[in-house]
Symmetry: C2
Subunit: 138 residues, 2 copies
């Protein structure tokens, strides 16, 4: 099992423990053309519901060679996906899910804060080993 | 010469033809740590001035295997860079420079418009062969 899949399962299990029902896995958006559908499906985004709340969760491990490049890619995917989601299902809020050490590490760096703040990126940190949600930053 | 370098020179020459003075090539931002400095320098961003106007220009060829992935990466880098620039040099406006066929192609697609609009991404299209600016979308 790849690390990517491990994180996917960890987030899925953590959300269930946190009282969420997984409704789509993966959660895909269709917008215009089929190749886009396929590409977005590859991003391993989950959809979940808890009571009246509906969320989509984009999972990112930040396991690349460059933490800045990982941040740029995560931000770009989040912004792209959120803009489509806002038009297709505006009541569903998009979260970027990251391991708790990434929240405390890369995402806590002074260089990362400006774009996270400017784009109002909603975060959820999970512990990969315990498979638990550690913090929501909506 | 790689295609990346070709585009870089094309944009540089196109800006000069358009009356701009290239002031930094590459244009680097230092924010906190040296490794970030190096990473940002790798993005091939130019800085230019024309009269009172100051701009930074991030050049993207969209030559990857997936146009959606290219868009996500370009958006993420633009947003990241713009947020830092806003804090370090707020009067300098950031543009994303793309070949004119990318503006008419990928960036004109219904799936691309939402994020470009929501993030107010300023674009400049250039013709790589003629080395000329074709359109500013500030």
């Amino acid at each position: 099992m790849s690390a990517k899949d491990t994180y996917h399962d960890a987030v899925r299990n953590a959300l269930i423990k946190d009282g969420w029902t997984i409704t789509h896995d993966p959660y895909t958006l269709t917008f215009g053309r089929k190749d886009v559908y396929v590409d977005l499906a590859g991003e391993r985004t989950l959809a979940a519901e808890r009571g009246e709340e509906k969320i989509a969760v984009e999972i990112k491990g930040f396991m690349g060679a460059s933490e800045i490049r990982d941040l740029e890619v995560a931000v770009g995917q989040y912004a792209f996906y959120r803009s489509l989601l806002a038009r297709l299902e505006p009541k569903r809020k998009l979260f970027l899910a990251v391991p708790d050490d990434v929240l405390a590490g890369t995402l806590g760096e002074p260089i990362a804060r400006p774009v996270l703040e400017d784009l109002h990126i909603a975060l959820v940190a999970f512990n990969p080993e315990r498979e638990e949600i550690v913090q929501w930053i909506p």
